[in-house]
């Protein structure tokens, strides 16, 4: 280690950016070299001097003003949608539409109530008792009311509604109709058991990009760890060829809240452990992951890395 090297690295030394061995050598050098020791002292003084320009915390009012301005602009700003959202069923869009339901429900109630009173009044005025539906009459399974029209001058109301009819389809997973239903169920069903079964049925068809996209969606967003694990199972063999699958698995490895899913993701990435993004993730996990298992396994995978000359 010569004076030139030391002088070029004093800045890094003082900012704690030197590796431990280099730091040790530099300290040994300045203990016996007066010139370099003087340079260290000078640079240290420079660092203190630079603090005469203080870094101020933004005042509360400054921060509040910035936040308010931002909030106002955000109200009128739309998010750009990612390309894959065009294919994905988004429950929030549906929920946003549902927001208007209370208004529709109130309207139906008012029209129904008004119509009922009107009918009863006209029946009583004719000395008849109002018609009562027979006890064994079942109300139809209504999935939504599409329109209500009142005939002017009469008590007649036309209610147009959609009736829900239970149906079932049986067929091979390759059947497009069955597959469409499975893809829909994997993304949008409230029942996690149904989602799990549909994802399980789809895992055998992951060679279809549409199926992979749905499995990737399930791995990323499904709230149930069992469903995420099942999706991971189906995607495992595609980490090599499909970069989107690899990214989703990498994301699960880094961010999933469930250790089982993370371990599964770690093993799924084994065939692509030499990939730069995977290697960087492994290096990071091997050092600082809270789970001992993930740290050990990451180290093991790094150790078995094929050597690059």
């Amino acid at each position: 280690m010569n004076c030139e090297w030391v002088q070029q690295n004093i800045t890094l030394y003082l900012y704690n950016e030197l590796a431990d061995d280099a730091r040790h050598e530099l300290e040994q050098h300045i203990a016996r070299c007066k010139n370099c020791a003087a340079e260290v002292a000078d640079q240290r003084e420079f660092q203190v001097q630079m603090n005469a320009l203080p870094v101020e915390e933004p005042s509360a009012s400054f921060l509040a003003a910035a936040r308010m301005r931002l909030q106002e602009v955000l109200e009128t700003t739309e998010q750009h949608r990612a390309w894959y959202h065009r294919f994905a069923f988004d429950p929030t869009v549906w929920l946003r539409q549902v927001r208007f339901s209370p208004a529709l429900a109130s309207l139906i109630f008012l029209v129904g109530f008004g119509g009922g009173i009107g009918a009863m009044y006209s029946a009583m005025s004719k000395g008849q008792t109002p018609a009562v539906p027979s006890g064994n009459q079942q109300p139809p399974m209504i999935s939504g009311i599409t329109s209500i029209e009142k005939e002017p001058g009469t008590d007649q109301v036309r209610v147009q509604y959609d009736k829900r009819l239970p149906e079932s389809v049986q067929g091979s997973v390759s059947d497009p109709k069955v597959q469409d239903l499975l893809l829909y169920a994997a993304k949008s069903n409230d029942n996690s058991g149904v989602r799990l079964n549909s994802v399980e049925a789809l895992t055998g068809k992951a060679d279809d990009p549409r199926v992979r996209e749905t499995l990737t969606y399930a791995l990323r967003y499904d709230s149930n760890p069992g469903v995420r694990l099942m999706a991971l199972d189906g995607l495992g063999s595609y980490v090599k060829d499909d970069i989107r699958v690899r990214n989703a698995v990498l994301e699960a490895l880094l961010n999933d809240s469930n250790l089982g899913v993370r371990s599964g993701a770690l093993h799924a990435l084994d065939p692509v452990r030499a990939d730069s993004s995977v290697r960087m993730a492994l290096q990071q996990l091997s050092q600082e992951d809270p789970s001992e298992y993930i740290r050990t396994e990451s180290k093991r995978m790094l150790a078995s890395m094929p050597s690059i000359d």
Partner: protein, 235 residues
């Protein structure tokens, strides 16, 4: 602005931590006492992930929660760099607006911290470049509205109450430093700012600026040498 393909490591946690505390965190490696810090970082990363996912589903309140975790640090950086409240607010607003519009392109390939800092530093670099073209290198400079202000006025007297002479000297030195900083190239300025004043690791700075740690080191070295030469007579 989409997150770039490779960057993954997460070095620094978010929040309104002061440069000193962050520097202390950076200086540590993996001593047992850091376990709490690491767990804290992992937890905040997890919270961030939830908030980002919610924001990606169009939940604006979740995005605003994210903003609140980072906006103090963003405003501090922008203000220290621009020395103008107006410019700092503009950078702040533009940065979070960009983040909001493009949140669906955030693919969790780097931390949100790195992502938002990348947006902020790009905006600051643009601003510094524009200023450099306008040759705003005198003691009196102009803000984004065209009004002039004195650098000396921008140096807060953090030790008011002490000797007035020392206060004045300190403010003068602060003004000289602010002026010397404007002589650096925008990139040197950015690296020096993030290293010296914000206490970030060079590895993180490299990631934020989409460059290597080695380049960040060289840029820091060049910037430091220029500043030392410019301020030699003040010591």
């Amino acid at each position: 602005m989409p997150a770039e393909a490779v960057a993954v490591p997460l070095t620094v946690g978010p929040g309104l931590r002061t440069p000193q505390t962050r520097r202390a965190a950076d200086e540590t490696s993996s001593t047992p006492s850091d376990r709490g810090l690491m767990v804290g970082q992992a937890q905040s990363r997890m919270n961030d992930t939830e908030l980002i996912r919610e924001a990606q589903r169009g939940n604006r309140a979740a995005f605003e929660d994210l903003v609140r975790q980072y906006d103090g640090a963003v405003l501090r950086l922008a203000y220290h760099l621009t020395r103008s409240e107006q410019d700092a607010q503009d950078v702040y607003q533009e940065a979070f607006l960009k983040a909001y519009r493009n949140i669906n392109n955030f693919r969790f390939e780097c931390s949100f911290y790195t992502w938002i800092y990348r947006i902020v530093t790009n905006l600051c670099l643009d601003l510094l470049r524009k200023r450099q073209v306008r040759k705003e290198d005198s003691g009196v400079t102009t803000d984004s509205e065209g009004g002039s202000y004195d650098l000396l006025d921008q140096v807060a007297d953090i030790r008011s109450g002490a000797s007035p002479e020392r206060d004045l000297m300190r403010r003068e030195l602060g003004a000289r430093i602010a002026k010397a900083l404007t002589k650096l190239t925008p990139r040197e300025r950015m690296v020096f700012e993030m290293k010296h004043y914000q206490g970030l690791k060079l590895r993180t700075i490299g990631e934020i600026l989409n460059t290597t740690e080695e380049t960040a080191k060289n840029t820091l070295f060049r910037g430091t040498q220029k500043l030392r030469a410019a301020l030699k007579d003040m010591r």
